[in-house]
């Protein structure tokens, strides 16, 4: 069994943060060693990076949400088995093998985190933002969500709204199905999708003009 670090954990604080030049050199070294062993290649690395920089992102989840808003039968299927429902729209992939969509309602607001690391529903939201992976969000959301959302996300939820925090501790990946805003009856599915933000699908924002939080 791999034992935890045995040296003095409180020594050596002055060496952090590690200079970027050192990190860069180490990563080039890793790539070159692994490529020599045939375990990675530049074209494969480039392909992965391009996918997650350009193709896989919250626009995908927004389409799912918009479809659920306009199609009640799809919404039912999404809430029953989000992985299967997303697959109908050809949405699938790593970190999305077991997805669950959690619906907001008048009395319930959902918000997602991973207090232990950074688990996140990649196929519908892409890679998580830094704040989601950093210690502050992970520490505070499970304990004081209402205060955190108000102070750091300008999202005020009254005490009579139940806040459900989904701490992704296993392989199930959660995203929020926000409520469709009032007054959007005339919008097309594409226009509706444009209203759905990454932050709303994580649960740190709502969808209404003047809600204030950035994407």
């Amino acid at each position: 069994m791999n034992m935890p670090y045995q040296g003095s954990p409180l020594e050596g604080g002055e060496q952090y943060p590690v200079p970027e030049a050192d990190l860069e050199a180490r990563v080039w070294a890793l790539e070159s060693l692994l490529a020599e062993k045939g375990l990675v290649s530049r074209d494969a690395i480039d392909r992965v990076v391009a996918s997650y920089e350009q193709d896989i992102g919250p626009m995908i989840g927004a389409k799912v949400v918009a479809r659920a808003w306009v199609d009640p039968a799809f919404r039912r299927r999404l809430l029953e088995d989000a992985t299967r429902a997303c697959a109908e729209l050809d949405i699938a992939g790593m970190q999305g093998e077991h997805m669950v969509a959690v619906p907001n309602s008048e009395g319930i607001h959902n918000v997602v985190c991973c207090s232990l690391c950074s688990c996140y529903p990649w196929p519908v939201l892409g890679l998580p933002p830094t704040w989601y992976k950093n210690p502050q969000y992970r520490a505070r959301l499970v304990a004081d969500p209402r205060k955190l959302l108000q102070e750091d996300f300008e999202l005020d939820l009254p005490n009579d709204v139940e806040i459900r925090v989904w701490d992704s501790s296993a392989e199930i990946r959660y995203f929020v199905l926000p409520q469709r805003p009032v007054g959007t009856e005339g919008l097309t599915e594409e226009e509706l999708a444009a209203l759905v933000t990454r932050d709303a699908m994580v649960g740190v924002a709502r969808i209404e003009p003047g809600a204030g939080s950035p994407r």
Binding site: G183, G186, L187, E191, A194
Partner: protein, 111 residues
């Protein structure tokens, strides 16, 4: 179109309307007309304001996502007009063909 009439306009839209010393500024005549047209349609009950509001928000959002890093090229009036045009077409008030036709006629006339 008096600035005071903007009190009924959604705060978020109002925030992005270009102003100088609190007064609305329009860079071109078409901007003023486009804005006035939308407000007039709402006030005459032909289109619900919420529908127009959400379409503008949606159009802005789409533009922002496609133009990260180029925020200084944002023109609210363009987004407004695009949203308004789509609303009119979606509601059957005008058709896409009618719009194209009118544009062609206008171009021919103006040389």
């Amino acid at each position: 179109m008096e600035p005071g009439e903007l009190r009924s306009v959604d705060r978020r839209i109002a925030d992005v309307l270009p102003r100088r010393s609190g007064e609305l500024i329009f860079e071109a005549e078409w901007e003023k007309r486009g804005f006035g047209l939308g407000i007039a349609l709402v006030e005459q009950g032909l289109v619900p304001f919420d529908d127009l509001r959400w379409r503008v928000v949606s159009a802005i959002s789409l533009w922002e996502r496609a133009n990260v890093g180029q925020e200084e090229t944002f023109r609210f009036a363009e987004r407004w007009l695009i949203a308004l045009e789509k609303l009119l077409v979606d509601r059957g008030i005008v058709s896409r063909e009618e719009i194209e036709q009118k544009i062609a006629e206008r171009r021919a006339r103006d040389g």
